[in-house]
């Protein structure tokens, strides 16, 4: 568990242009304001976490970035282009991939086919090419399969390539979700509780993997997570949501000491208690 305790790399002081720029985004469902005027940025090659109690609006925020809900107000820029009016599949094609909190694999497909589906926006073959089996189609398909197997090797799923995705144990299903998301060659990866239900060992492995994606592939990661050890261990910046509002933002150390955050998680009395230890 040494990896967990390693302090994160301190962000350089130079102002970077954000890859993802969420500006004043609000989402109302009828009378309920799920996300209220939230600002958030993720720079290239950074790991940013969003934490908050259940129902704080984290997943709603994700769904807006991924294009599943249009924001009621505000804008979302990705690589300087507004994306909040785009459809989910267009957003994926632009380089944002996601995983789901409740695993959503294609259960009737094999493991490797799941990854091949993830490659969809990067493949160009047409129905005509598929029927005629043009040399170009064959080349692309071969390359796609090789790439899919490489991704499975990265997540240590190679030996299950031809298994049905439904037959994988839970932790591996989560890893397959990550492999499938990586297949679209994203610049930004949205991970919605990637270690939910995993044991300590599996969590540590997932953490190491997330760090490698950033270090070796330069992928920026936006993470929703409840596992504080994971969040504090790998994030360069943490944003805290409560009742749809961003109540704190900063380095893991800053956030851990923030009164409002402690209050949101523990309640008021305990928060005061924590302030004035008797």
């Amino acid at each position: 568990m040494t990896a967990v305790e390693t302090p994160p790399v301190a962000p350089p002081v130079v102002l970077e242009k954000p890859l993802l720029d969420v500006r004043g985004v609000t989402k109302r469902f009828g009378g309920l304001t799920a996300v209220d005027d939230v600002n958030l940025t993720v720079e290239k090659g950074r790991i940013v976490s969003v934490i908050g109690p259940n129902g704080a609006g984290k997943t709603t925020l994700f769904n807006m970035i991924a294009g599943f809900y249009p924001p009621t107000a505000g804008t979302i820029l990705f690589a300087d282009h507004p994306i909040h009016r785009l459809q989910p599949h267009q957003i994926t094609a632009r380089g944002i991939a996601r995983t789901f909190q409740n695993i959503r694999l294609f259960h009737n497909m094999t493991v490797v086919e799941n990854v091949l589906v993830g490659m969809h926006p990067r493949l160009r073959s047409s129905a005509f090419g598929a029927i005629v089996r043009t040399p170009w189609f064959n080349r692309e398909e071969r390359a796609a399969r090789l790439r899919a197997m490489q991704l499975l090797a990265l997540l240590d799923l190679s030996r299950y390539a031809t298994e049905s995705a439904a037959n994988l144990p839970y932790g591996m299903q989560r890893r397959l979700e990550v492999a499938r998301a990586l297949a679209s060659d994203p610049q930004l990866l949205l991970l919605d509780e990637p270690t939910a239900g995993m044991n300590t060992q599996e969590t540590a492995a997932m953490m190491a993997l997330i760090r490698r994606l950033r270090d070796d592939l330069g992928i920026a990661v936006l993470l929703i997570e409840h596992d504080m050890r994971l969040v504090m261990g790998i994030s360069e910046r943490v944003s805290v949501l409560n009742y749809g509002r961003k109540i704190a933002e900063g380095s893991p150390q800053d956030v851990q000491g923030n009164d409002q955050v402690i209050e949101a998680y523990l309640g008021r009395r305990q928060a005061q208690h924590a302030e004035t230890p008797s």
Binding site: P88, T92, R98, F106, A127, A153, A161, S184
Partner: protein, 420 residues
């Protein structure tokens, strides 16, 4: 807890090779043997039929047409997971497009020297029928894309009802309930299908139903070939993904609109080509031939055989339509013969008469009458319904369920290294 479940930071090369070459080669060999065997039987069937004097080629042609219909519906229902209860509408559109273009009773009257005369050729009409059916597939598909499951089924059901009704009421163009007859025939080497004797190179031939048989076999073979290749491509995977989980599919970058519309259009175009041949083969079409029961029949074929498995669907199509076209009639004949064996006088010889109840004589007589008038064709929907209920209890995945492919074709000899 095995070592596998923990991803190491330094991934090991895959323990299992990508392909199991011997097993894959063996599977490919058996597949080729099947193809060759079945292909030979299919091609030689008319000769076998002639040799054994079965006289069944004429009955087999509609069966094969329905199998082709089922193959097309399997794309929509089996691959893309869109429940379509109005499939017969596209069949009707294909048939009526052909009739409209080629029939002398159609309102288009072209002079013999008209520059558009070529449009009245069967082959041209068939291609147009395919295109128009595909267009209607898109027209139906577009407004229903937001619907799923039951709701989509209801809309397609409505479409399936609308088309025959429009045909019935557009008398000016379709002759309404009078139907259209005759209809242009396919031809090859100047020889029209179904019109004997056929003169090729000064030699007269009697071909009977043979050209029809081989035409539909050709269409079926092209369909099987194309569908297999589509299934194993980017598009086929996108269909399967949408069927499994649309939300996940969309976030994988799959455009749900074009993917579903392509499924509708392809399914409809199969129906269109089949409709064109069906119309030319029967030489008479009217709206009653395309009602709801046809949609249900074709859907039954897909479900019975195994939704999503092409070979299953072919088997299901063969079973259901051969029951419909051949066995129901023969079985009815046998039951009627059985009825004739019941002796109505048997009751008079027994002394057992319970007051207030039917006498054995009555029972025997009624049984005889009933058995002798059995016509399973009237009961066909009951038989299909019962067989589907039984299927759902005994084998809900169909006779040959959709099977995941065990092997992945991976580049040979190239080592697989982790992506990072």
């Amino acid at each position: 807890m095995t070592a596998v479940e923990v991803a190491d930071t330094t991934p090991t090369p895959p323990a299992v090779p990508l392909t199991l070459p011997e097993e894959e080669a063996a599977e490919r060999r058996t597949r080729w043997l099947w193809f060759l065997g079945v292909g030979f039987l299919v091609l030689a069937y008319p000769l076998i039929d002639q040799a054994l004097n079965w006289q069944s080629v004429r009955a087999v042609i509609p069966i094969l047409l329905f199998v082709t219909l089922a193959l097309g519906l399997n794309i929509v229902v089996g691959y893309a997971g869109l429940l379509d209860l109005g499939y017969a509408a596209f069949f009707a559109i294909g048939a009526y497009t052909t009739a409209f273009l080629t029939s002398p009773v159609s309102p288009i009257k072209l002079a013999a020297d008209s520059p558009f005369k070529w449009m009245q050729d069967f082959w041209v009409a068939m291609i147009l029928a395919v295109i128009i059916a595909a267009l209607f597939g898109v027209i139906l598909g577009a407004p229903t894309l937001r619907l799923r499951g039951d709701y989509l089924a209801i809309v397609t059901l409505g479409f399936g009802e609308i088309v025959p009704r429009v045909v019935l009421n557009l008398e000016k163009f379709t002759q309404g309930s009078k139907g259209m007859n005759p209809i242009g025939r396919p031809h090859i080497l100047g020889c029209q299908f179904g019109l004997d004797p056929c003169v090729i190179g000064g030699q007269p031939f009697k071909l009977g139903a043979l050209p029809w048989y081989y035409l539909i076999v050709l269409i079926g073979a092209i369909s099987i070939f194309g569908i297999t290749r589509l299934r194993d491509s980017r598009l086929g995977r996108a269909w399967a993904a949408i069927r499994d989980d649309e939300v996940a599919a969309v976030s994988m970058g799959i455009n749900p609109v074009t993917t579903k519309l392509l499924a509708f259009a392809l399914g409809a175009s199969f129906s269109g080509s089949t409709g064109a041949i069906y119309a030319a083969y029967l030489q008479f079409i009217d709206p009653t031939q395309f009602d709801f029961s046809i949609s249900v029949l074709v859907l039954c074929m897909v479900i019975l055989g195994g939704t999503g498995n092409m070979y299953g669907v072919i088997l299901g199509g063969l079973i259901i339509s051969s029951f419909d076209r051949i066995f129901a009639e023969r079985l009815s004949g046998w039951i009627r013969q059985l009825g004739a064996l019941v002796d109505p006088n048997v009751g008079f010889k027994t002394k057992l008469v319970v007051p207030g109840m039917a006498t054995p004589a009555d029972v025997a007589f009624n049984l005889r009458t009933w058995l002798r008038s059995v016509d399973l064709l009237n009961l066909r929907l009951l038989v299909f319904g019962l067989s589907l209920v039984l299927l759902m209890i005994l084998r809900p995945q169909g006779l040959i369920p959709a099977r995941r492919r065990r092997f992945v074709k991976a580049p040979r000899g190239e080592p697989v290294t982790p992506a990072v």
